[in-house]
């Protein structure tokens, strides 16, 4: 605690240290700002050059060097739809059970929360290995949109459960007491009162999960595969947008223009999804402060 000692030499040393710290913090913050801006500007400027309406709807040609990303957008949409359709009901039911039906501090709740924490930390390439072994081979789905979507569903489940559970727990207890006093059953009070009140939080969680799933690449390479044709069913292999970017950048010489354009599409979609999710959670925060 040299700051509490006195004397002119200490004052001088202290001023020098404070100045150095101020400079270091400004420099680090500026460097981060500059690097982030560099990445974004690079993707936006080089991506915008190749981005127009026909790029969004056309079939890819010459391994993706020319043409567009129409079938890839369809595959991506289907993979995301499978992931959300599988994860949302599972996640919501688990969150309701944890927040509304289990007594606080029960052993099952502790075990579930531990297993979700661990699940959230598993590297995405390991999800890919599991999806390949379980969905693609053991369940016989092969390289398919279904297999990729279900793998992503496992991956985003912890995020969905945590955000929904948090939203449910933020609903004031008096509302449940009021519902019980009116003679409502436990379930109808959850269904008609608690769940609608937690709606924005649940939606925000779903959107964050959607964003996480859209950004994922490594878990999809061995589950939904590489095929860039228009999928005709959920059991067809379909190439996700992120996989398309990876393939164009790494395996296709001269694919950078379309890789950048695809990256810009991915980035814009994520900005919209994450932006809406954040405006929901900001809205919740403001409401809680106002209340």
């Amino acid at each position: 605690m040299s700051d509490l000692s006195h004397g002119p030499r200490h004052v001088f040393a202290r001023q020098a240290r404070d100045g150095a710290m101020r400079v270091a913090i400004w420099a680090a913050a500026a460097a981060l700002f500059a690097c982030a801006a560099w990445v974004m500007l690079d993707v936006v400027l080089r991506g915008a050059a190749g981005l127009d309406w026909s790029f969004l709807v056309d079939e890819p040609a010459r391994a993706g060097r020319a043409g567009g990303i129409g079938p890839i957008l369809v595959s991506t949409g289907l993979i995301l739809a499978v992931a959300i359709a599988a994860a949302a009901p599972l996640g919501l039911a688990t969150a309701i059970f944890l927040a509304e039906f289990l007594p606080a501090g029960s052993r099952f709740a502790a075990w579930t929360s531990l297993s979700l924490d661990v699940l959230a930390g598993i590297p995405s390439i390991v999800f890919g290995l599991f999806g390949n072994a379980f969905f693609s081979i053991w369940l016989g789905m092969g390289f398919s949109i279904l297999s990729g979507g279900l793998t992503l569903a496992c991956m985003i489940l912890p995020l969905l459960i945590r955000t929904a559970e948090h939203g449910l727990r933020m609903v004031p207890g008096e509302w449940r007491h009021g519902a019980a006093a009116l003679g409502m059953s436990r379930f109808s009070s959850v269904w008609r009162i608690v769940l609608p009140a937690a709606g924005p939080a649940v939606t925000a969680g779903l959107l964050l999960g959607l964003g996480r799933a859209t950004a994922e690449t490594a878990a999809l390479v061995f589950t939904s595969g590489y095929v860039d044709r228009m999928p005709s069913s959920l059991l067809d292999s379909g190439r996700a947008l992120s996989v398309h970017i990876y393939d164009l950048a790494m395996n296709v010489a001269g694919g950078d223009r379309n890789a950048y354009a695809s990256a810009l599409v991915l980035l814009l979609f994520l900005i919209v999804v994450n932006g809406i999710a954040m405006s929901f959670s900001d809205y919740l925060l403001r409401k809680r402060i106002a209340a």
Partner: protein, 288 residues
């Protein structure tokens, strides 16, 4: 408490039972993953043995050489290097936004950090491959190297450090600031001597979590580190990480080769678990 009291024989009880069954399914997914990854890895663990994965000097899985050590070392070097860069910059960015940034800059700064946090790793990899690798190649060919991986990984995990550090710093009670100011400490002295030590555990937890993300990342290291299996012996040397190895070889691997890729996946999972548990002791894990 008795299980039966949780599920009374009413409509509510039946619904609770149904929800409970679904929750078991959700919390069983982890078990399913561990069982399947372990099950696929088992043939290699049994016939090759754990020790040979560490002691074999080369990785020629089709010629009965299963040395994972160079890739393990590369993964550690990448994650450690990224952390050494990202930890101070991330903490400084958090301090900057909370205590230094002028009011008009706070919101755009947070926006950019969140944007970076939400950027897919494949996009960061694309930028690294097209912009950073050519720059490094001019300095010291071939460009795709350990240092390229470290720089882009650092950029990827900086938002994790910054966001968790912000939360930890904000949770330091205002009275700590007030007491520091009452003792005559300025902003820098209060930060160094009072506020940062008080937020120490949360900040450290966030850094460990960021380390776990760097260790488990695939796309960035796959795209820009060169993918040559060898012990990292310099910052400009091309290397191959454990994750990239899985991504590169899963497509055609069969038999013991495939099983040994699952072994490396299992090893990766265990390493990440260790880091996450260390982070948990500091603070609850965050996903957002």
């Amino acid at each position: 408490m008795r299980i039966s009291s949780l599920f009374p024989r009413t409509r509510d009880g039946h619904i609770a039972f149904g929800l409970g069954a679904v929750s078991c399914l959700a919390s069983g997914i982890l078990l399913l993953i561990l069982v399947f990854v372990f099950g696929e890895a088992w043939p290699a663990l049994r016939t090759i043995g754990v020790l040979r994965f560490l002691s074999d000097t080369a990785w020629y899985p089709t010629d009965n050489a299963f040395g994972l050590a160079p890739m393990l070392a590369a993964s550690f070097a990448l994650a450690a290097g990224a952390l050494i860069l990202a930890a101070p910059v991330g903490v400084a960015a958090a301090i900057f936004r909370l205590y230094y940034a002028p009011a008009w800059l706070k919101t755009p700064y947070r926006g950019l950090v969140l944007l970076l946090a939400g950027t897919p790793s494949v996009v960061l990899g694309l930028w690294g491959l097209m912009v950073l690798v050519p720059l490094i190649a001019r300095l010291e060919p071939p460009g795709a190297s350990l240092i390229a991986g470290i720089l882009v990984l650092a950029l990827m995990i900086v938002p994790t450090v910054a966001i968790t550090a912000e939360a930890a710093l904000e949770s330091v009670p205002r009275s700590c600031w007030a007491a520091a100011n009452a003792l005559g400490l300025g902003r820098e002295a209060a930060l160094l001597n009072v506020v940062l030590p008080a937020a120490r555990e949360g900040v450290a937890g966030g850094i460990l979590l960021a380390g776990a993300r760097a260790l488990g990342e695939t796309m960035v290291v796959l795209m820009i580190t060169g993918n040559i299996v060898r012990m990292p012996d310099g910052l400009f040397a091309p290397v191959r990480a454990l994750t990239s190895n899985i991504a590169l070889e899963m497509a055609y691997a069969t038999g013991d080769h495939r099983a040994s890729l699952f072994v490396s996946g299992l090893a990766l999972t265990l390493l990440v678990f260790l880091l996450s548990f260390a982070a948990r002791t500091g603070r609850r894990m965050r996903y957002v």
